[in-house]
Symmetry: C2
């Protein structure tokens, strides 16, 4: 479940806490998603993407390298 959330969030100058509040989850959930240890729901993926002004593909599609 690798993704581009962390790098995108940092570029947007947001903390995990700020992003979490905006999308309605806890800081821990954002942390685990960024670590790739979580398999988030589509709704949450979309909320994060919109908050970071990205699309689903930009954050989650074929990020394995």
């Amino acid at each position: 479940m690798k993704n581009n959330v962390k790098i995108t969030r940092i570029k947007a100058s947001m903390t995990q806490e700020q992003l979490a509040r905006k999308v309605g989850v806890t800081r821990q959930t954002i942390g685990l998603i960024e670590k790739g240890e979580y398999n988030p729901t589509l709704q949450l993926c979309i909320a994060i993407a919109k908050e970071l002004n990205k699309t689903l593909d930009e954050l989650y599609w074929e990020v394995e390298l």
Copy 2:
């Protein structure tokens, strides 16, 4: 949780059962996702997209109208 899974699956001439088997879930799960009553996990969204030769954005991004 509206999406383009159903129309894409039909265009690909697959049944719910066939798609479900390919992505490792049950037919009921596919049915509920197509109905928009489910909030699937990212892993499942990706598996479905790959099976239908689409990207996440094509199936799940801004499909509300």
